[in-house]
Amino acid sequence: MISGLVLYLNRDEAIWSETLDALTAQAEIAVGQRYESRLPVVVESSDGSNARDLTQWILDLPGVDHLDVTYVDLEEATRGENGDG
């Protein structure tokens, strides 16, 4: 699954750099251009379970207040009945 997400960062900019470093260090995550406190990212996961783990990991990062999903491609995950519904 390949997903587009928007992260809402805390107003405390002091902790952003640590969070951004943690995100960019993950091979499954691509970080886009930040707009004020909103950060677009793309997450690649093997299936729904892995997607849940990754989003939970992101939400637990310091300075991440909230997360929305904008796009999910699930073709590879569901072809061949690999969905975990």
């Binding site: 928007v6 904008t70 009945e81």
Partner: protein
């Protein structure tokens, strides 16, 4: 670069473009019709997300008969292109390994696959054999067309009013609160209040996890530097609490005392909205001699007297919320220069004093005049996206007809019969069984007065959500295992 890598690159670009457009507040993103140099096009159509009460619009991408992508609908005012983490599963849920792809019929202790033609014939035969002993049990996850079809089929076709949704269970206290307070069954606020309030009070409510796309409106306002105070009044900390300036932990049911404590201080301090109250409010108290929906009319002075015991210190004893915090809440409601929105959902609706608590939240907003302006509203959330639309507006309730009409009123039946082109008198004037009664009758043996033989369950799982399963479901499953009306043998949608 191989074709597969090229395809993945294209999907990554599309995903990043959608996220970037949402982050930038831009409308420039267009859903991709193909990935890279592939030939097979993706067709996008709109569908609702049924996972919570927000009602997000989802764009669903289908290729060769298979859902391949989902995206938030940027044209939708409700979610403005966003989905929550549940959005991951809106598409994938169709392809779960345990998803039924054929109708199942229970024979002895086993479920056997049958064809749709056989399933439809079995259902039709059962209904035809005893149309007055048949019922529909649905939910707030019915889409409006689905609910409307069931409603018209049973009330217009069978002259039988045994149709009810699970919204009867989750929203009964909210509906009673609306009717008792305003005389109409509609929320006073709307989602746009979240964009305009200065203070957001969440009563036993966890929108960060339960209604995430709504909560992101508030988080987004903060990320843009707006000043908004969040207050969580609850019995446990949640992800919502992490965003709140104030977390007021209360004892279970302590919220009633908190609301009364706020009202007491508003009057004691003279900070209630005198003009609003004089022009728009009457006062009622519970009528213990004759319990009824609207209570007993009382004067303002009598109302004031009723509130006298609810001093901050007494409320602290009752609720566990510190007296200083009760004063803080009352001070906020006493201000005319800020706008306050209250949010609540099942945390209020489903405790045993849910109806009273609904009335009290409305009452605090009316007394303080924090009502009827953008951002100033008591806003009850639903747990399902169409508890208002399908259950209440379409009227998939045992007593209701579409558009706020009821079966007991002759003129309402006539209007529905005219619209549905039915012979006069087709619609039954007697309300059907509400949810609990329907399942009680289903579980009662015929010789003991049980008169519901078959229930067609649609878009809900009463095996999980009914109260007191030992009374309302298990007896039937134990006594009549081959009944098509049991939830497990209800035909399920087939995978395309």
């Amino acid at each position: 670069m191989d074709k597969q890598q090229n395809r993945r690159d294209f999907i990554r670009s599309a995903a990043m473009a959608s996220a970037t457009a949402a982050a930038a507040g831009s409308t420039s993103f267009s859903l991709p019709k193909v990935y890279g140099d592939e030939n097979s096009a993706i067709e996008w159509n709109k569908a609702p997300c049924r996972f919570c009460g927000t009602g997000c619009h989802v764009q669903v991408g289908v290729r060769d008969g298979q859902v391949v992508a989902v995206a938030g609908d940027r044209e939708a005012d409700v979610n403005k292109g966003l989905l929550c983490v549940k959005g991951y599963h809106v598409g994938a849920v169709l392809y779960g390994k345990d998803r039924l792809t054929k109708p199942l019929l229970r024979r002895d202790d086993k479920y056997v696959e049958i064809e749709w033609s056989e399933a439809i014939k079995i259902i039709a035969d059962r209904i035809e054999a005893a149309p007055d002993r048949f019922g529909f049990y649905g939910s707030g996850q019915w889409t409006i067309p689905e609910g409307y079809a069931a409603q018209k089929f049973i009330k217009g076709g069978l002259s039988n009013n045994h149709i009810d949704p699970n919204a009867r269970l989750c929203m009964a206290s909210a509906v009673t609160g609306f009717l008792a307070t305003y005389g109409v069954d509609e929320p006073a606020g709307c989602y746009d209040d979240l964009d305009n309030c200065d203070v957001l009070i969440m009563w036993g409510n966890n929108p960060a996890e339960m209604h995430p796309v709504l909560f992101s409106r508030v988080v987004d306002r903060r990320s843009r530097g707006e000043d908004i105070t969040l207050i969580d009044i609850g019995t446990r900390k949640t992800r919502t609490t992490q965003q709140c300036e104030h977390y007021l932990e209360m004892k279970p049911h302590g919220d009633l005392a908190v609301a009364n404590g706020i009202a007491h201080l508003l009057i004691e301090n003279g900070t209630f909205d005198k003009s609003f109250v004089e022009n728009h409010c009457n006062f009622k108290s519970p009528d213990s001699e004759n319990p009824n929906l609207h209570g007993k009319a009382v004067s303002f002075d009598e109302y004031k007297e009723l509130l006298k015991p609810y001093t901050p210190e007494r409320v602290e004893e009752l609720s566990g919320v510190a007296a200083a915090d009760i004063r803080m809440l009352a001070d906020l409601f006493g201000r005319r220069d800020i706008r306050i929105t209250s949010l609540w959902c099942m945390g209020v609706n489903q405790h045993t004093r849910g109806t009273a608590m609904n009335c009290l939240i409305h009452g605090v907003h009316l007394l303080s005049g924090h009502f009827g302006r953008p951002g100033d509203a008591p806003t009850s959330l639903t747990g399902q996206p169409s508890a208002c639309g399908t259950a209440r507006e379409v009227g998939t309730l045992a007593h209701a007809l579409p558009g706020g009409r009821v079966v007991m009123k002759p003129e309402h039946r006539q209007q529905a019969e005219m619209i549905w082109k039915l012979p006069e008198g087709r619609i039954n004037a007697k309300p059907g069984y509400h949810t609990v009664k329907m399942w009680e009758q289903f579980c009662t043996p015929a010789e003991e007065g049980g008169d519901i033989d078959t229930i067609w369950v649609q878009v809900t799982n009463p095996g999980h959500s009914l109260p007191n399963l030992n009374k309302l479901l298990t007896p039937k499953l134990d006594s009549k295992k081959n009944s098509l009306s049991s939830r497990k043998s209800t035909p399920q949608p087939q995978r395309n």
